[in-house]
Structures are given as C-alpha cells and as structure tokens.
C-alpha cells in the first residue's frame, strides 16, 4: 500500500515541480525587464531574456542564481565565516532545537497534569485552547528586547520564543492522545489491578504516541519560525532571520532567497527526521505496519 503510493505520486510531483520552475523563469522575464532596460541599451529579445535571468540585484532571482549562491555560501566559505550559510543555519538550528526540546518537555508535563488533575483540566485547558487562536508570535520582539535589557542575550531569548510556539500544539495533542484509550481498555487495566503509574506507562503513554508525533511535527515547524522571527528585531547579526533582514536592507534579493531556501531545507529535514523516528517507533510498537 505504502510503496505503491510512492510509486504513483513521484511522477506527478516531479511534473508539478518542473512546471513551477518553468513558470518561475517565465515570470522572471517581465519582473526584471524594467531593471534590465535601465541598465542596458539596445538589446535584442534573446539578450534581454538572458540578462534578466542573470542580474546582480534582480527583483526575482532565478533558481540557478539562488542555487549557485547557496552552493557558494555553503561549500566555498569557511564554516565559521560570517558569510557562510552553514554558520547562520547552525545558529538558527541551535535556538530551534533548544526551544523545541524545552517546549516538548513542558508540554508533556502540563498535559500529564491536565489529564490527571481535574482542577487543572477545568482551569488551564480552556486557556491552552484559546491560546491557539491568538497570534502569539507578536510577543517575540518584546521578549527579545526585555531579555536583552536584563542582560540575557544570544541563544536563550530565541529559544524561549521557539519554546512557547511549540509548547501549545504539544499540550493539545498530548492531552488528546493521553485520553485516547477508551473506557473498556481502562477497565481492563483496572481488572488487572494496575496502579495509576502502570496505567500511565503501559496504556495511556503508548497510545498517545501517534498524537505526540503529529504534534511534534507541527511543533518543530513552529519552533523554526519562532527562531527566525526572533532574529529579526534584536539587531542580531547572525542567524537565517538576520540574514534575510540584511538582504532586505541592501536590496540583495539573492541573499534573501538563499536564506529562505536554507530555512525551507532545515524545516523539511527536521520534519523528515521526526517522520522517520515516528515510522520506526510506531512500527516497532506495531501501531502501524
């Protein structure tokens, strides 16, 4: 089932990606044409198109420009250099992972509290759900600046933003998961006179794992967004968000796009990693085949 799905989807995906790249090149011609005709005079159509795909500061850089910029800044710069994409990516990744781990731990602990304590369930849970509807990301600049003024700089403020962005999806998913065993299964555990601890570790926790992994994927994507946005307001000089901001100031569109693609690559590999762990774990537990 799974394998045939892959085989049948690959061709359509490749076709659509190919189509996107073609239309990207086509759109780049009119978008950059104003700049080309300002810089060069008396071009025939073919030269005009060629120039519009290879401008230095284009309005829309073409895929091959972005790729070569990414290759240049990834492989041909020293890793600790300020112009290396790996350096900036690593700074962002560190904050993302730190915030994600903290947010996950806190989220699971809070979910355990909510499931086991009626008072917490009734008083905290409505607020957690309401918080999902609120654009929490708006607080990011404030956290950065306030923490800077107390003397906390660097990784921690960004990690805190990542933490609270990944925290809420994990609480919601985990509460749902821990409550997913039905009454019959819980009664079965009781007839075996299972202690509350055994009930948690042998029934509730294992059956919550599919929910946990689903929210981990949401959470890590949110963490990365938090880390990138956290790099915007502080006048930060390193990290993918800072790189985008620098690109904006100097009109270096190729730099913005390459930072964007690096961020996309990071997000994709993090989600892929969790997906891999999920498949492995759930297969070993015989939840999926």
């Amino acid at each position: 089932m799974k394998r045939s799905l892959i085989n049948t989807s690959i061709l359509p995906i490749i076709t659509i990606v190919f189509f996107i790249i073609i239309s990207w090149y086509l759109v780049a011609i009119p978008m950059n044409s104003e700049k080309v005709s300002r810089q060069f005079k008396n071009l025939d159509f073919k030269e005009h198109v060629e120039k519009s795909w290879n401008l230095k500061k284009p309005k829309l850089p073409t895929p091959h420009q972005i790729t070569s910029e990414i290759i240049k800044t990834t492989f041909y710069k020293k890793i600790n250099s300020k112009r290396s994409l790996v350096y900036h990516g690593w700074i962002t990744l560190k904050a993302t992972l730190a915030g994600f781990v903290l947010g996950t731990l806190l989220g699971i602990i809070l979910a355990l509290g909510i499931v086991h304590n009626r008072a917490m369930d009734l008083s905290v849970m409505p607020w957690v759900i309401a918080s999902q509807t609120v654009p929490i990301l708006a607080i990011a600049p404030m956290i950065i600046v306030v923490m800077n003024s107390v003397g906390v700089t660097g990784l921690l403020p960004k990690a805190i933003i990542s933490m609270y962005l990944s925290f809420f999806p994990i609480v919601v998913g985990m509460v749902k998961g821990l409550r997913s065993p039905d009454q019959m299964q819980i009664d079965q555990m009781r007839t075996w006179s299972a202690t509350p601890n055994q009930l948690l570790w042998k029934l509730r926790f294992p059956s919550s794992l599919p929910y946990l992994f689903a929210s981990l994927k949401v959470g890590i994507a949110a963490s990365l967004i938090g880390a990138i946005v956290g790099e915007l307001p502080s006048g930060a000089i390193s990290g993918l968000g800072a790189r985008m901001l620098a690109g904006t100031y100097y009109g270096q569109t190729v730099i913005i796009w390459s930072a964007l693609f690096a961020a996309a690559f990071l997000a994709a590999s993090l989600v892929f990693l969790i997906n891999f762990i999920q498949n492995y774990t759930l297969k070993r537990m015989a939840i999926i085949r």
Binding site: P12, A119, L137, S149
Partner: protein
C-alpha cells in the same frame, strides 16, 4: 516581606484551594465557564501584586492595570492600527487566499494526476517557514497593506488547499452512486453533495488559517510598513521601552484572534449541524 508579597501568596494559595473545591462540583455550563474565568482573574491579580510587591520596573513587566489604562487612553491609535493590519492586511488576504484555495481544490479535484502531485507538495509547503517571504513581498508590493495581503494569501493558500482537497476526496461512494442514479450533473453533485460534505474539512482549514493570517500580517510589518499598523507599533514601541503600549496591542491581537475564530466556529456549527461531532 511587604504586604503585597504576602497578599500574592495568599491569593495564590487561596485561589488554588478555591479552584480545587470548585472542580469537584457537578460539572455544568456554569462551572465550565466560571472555573477558567476565575483562574484567569487569579493569574491577573497575582501578576498585579507581584509587580507592585517586588517593585518591578514597568520596562520589564507592566502591571495589568497599567495596560488597561494605556488601552483605554489610546483607543484611537489602536483602532487605526487594527484597521490597517487586521482589516486591510489580514482579512483581505485571508478572504482572497482561502477562496483561491477552495476554487483551486475544486479544479484539481477533477484531475487525479494533479491531486497526487499537489497534495504531498502542499503538505510539504505548509510546514515551511513562509513568513520568511515577508521581506520579498514588501519589496515587490511596497510598504502599505498590499504586501501584507500578499504574504497572507501565500501563507493561507496551501493549508487551505490541502484541507479542501482532502474534504472533497472523502465523500461516501454510495452517496455518489445515489446521485448518479438520480442522473445528477457534475455541478449538481458538487454543490448538493460534495461541497456540503467537505465542509468540516474546509472549516478546519479556515480555522487554522485564521491564526496564520494574523501572524502573517503582523510579522510582515516588522520588515517595513507605513507609520501605522500593529506590527509597526509593536516593534517601534518595544524600541522605546513603552511596554504597556505593546501589551495593549497584543491584547487587541488576542481579542481579535479569539473573536474571529469564534465567528468561524459559530458559522461552522450552523452549516454542519448534520455532522456527528455537532450532535448530542
């Protein structure tokens, strides 16, 4: 130890005790609303007391009363920002993006090939940090609300597309066969069976996107905006350490987010009354 610190701990322990007592009451509509409200009020009270008690600098954490005061004193500025960011930027982008996604979903639903290619891609793109495209859109469409609208369109498009396609796909086959025996045309099947039964999925997408739209519009303003708008106000007031104004803006954003979400949920309940989750 001053009086406020002692009061802080009294409120903490007292509130804790009260909430535990209340939660053992028989659950009803009253307790379901009353307990979380009480919890929120206790937190606010503790916040106020700790700020006064420890004499915390308002630059770090302003007291709730200071925020409320600022809120009521600057209603006109908050209204201008609200219109600029949420009505012009977020709402227009939300409506454009969501309707474009639903129309695209109906269009690609006819072609299995497109569906198989776009669904995984759409899922993938939904996980990407699209907010990062904000600086590019600000360059293309200028500082005003048009660029915010554009970023919101891109942010909401893919989650909405994926949800609508999934909803259109999941129609019961026997019902579709029934429509065929009625000799229903494609449009009749679409409007009388498939779209209505896709509504739970479409509304799920609309709910996810409502938060995304607010985030997109606010964050895009960090990259450049005219001298109004919530994102602009937040980043400039943070720079001046006027945190009470920042909190007032966040309060507006939170309130707007909740109301918007609530409105969508209300419409959903009206339109999908037939769904098992809405039946008692």
């Amino acid at each position: 130890m001053n009086v406020f610190i002692i009061l802080f701990f009294t409120v903490w322990i007292g509130g804790w005790w009260l909430n535990i007592r209340l939660s053992y009451l028989k659950s009803s509509h009253v307790t379901k609303i009353f307990i979380p409200t009480l919890f929120g009020l206790i937190i606010l009270l503790m916040w106020e007391l700790i700020v006064i008690g420890l004499n915390i600098n308002p630059v770090l954490l302003p007291a709730p009363t200071a925020i409320v005061l600022k809120f009521s004193n600057s209603l006109s500025i908050l209204w201008i920002d609200f219109v600029q960011t949420l009505i012009k930027g977020a709402l227009s982008g939300y409506i454009l993006g969501c309707s474009a996604a639903i129309i695209t979903a109906i269009a690609i639903d006819k072609f299995d090939f497109l569906k198989r290619g776009l669904l995984p891609l759409g899922n993938f793109i939904s996980a990407l940090p699209i907010v990062g495209m904000a600086p590019i859109f600000v360059m293309w469409f200028g500082f005003d609300w048009e660029s915010k609208c554009a970023i919101v369109v891109v942010m909401v498009f893919f989650p909405m597309l994926v949800n609508s396609v999934q909803g259109l796909e999941l129609v019961d086959h026997s019902r579709q066969d029934l429509m065929k025996t009625y000799n229903a045309s494609y449009t009749q099947t679409l409007f009388k069976l498939r779209l209505p039964s896709a509504l739970p999925f479409i509304f799920n997408g609309l709910k996810i996107c409502s938060t995304l739209a607010l985030i997109g519009a606010i964050v895009a303003e960090f990259f450049g905006s005219p001298i109004k708008g919530m994102g602009f106000r937040i980043s400039s007031e943070v720079g001046r350490f006027a945190l009470d104004m920042v909190w007032a803006e966040i309060f507006v954003a939170a309130l707007a987010g909740c109301l918007f979400y609530g409105l969508i949920a209300l419409i959903e309940q009206r339109l999908t009354f037939w769904h098992p989750s809405n039946q008692k």
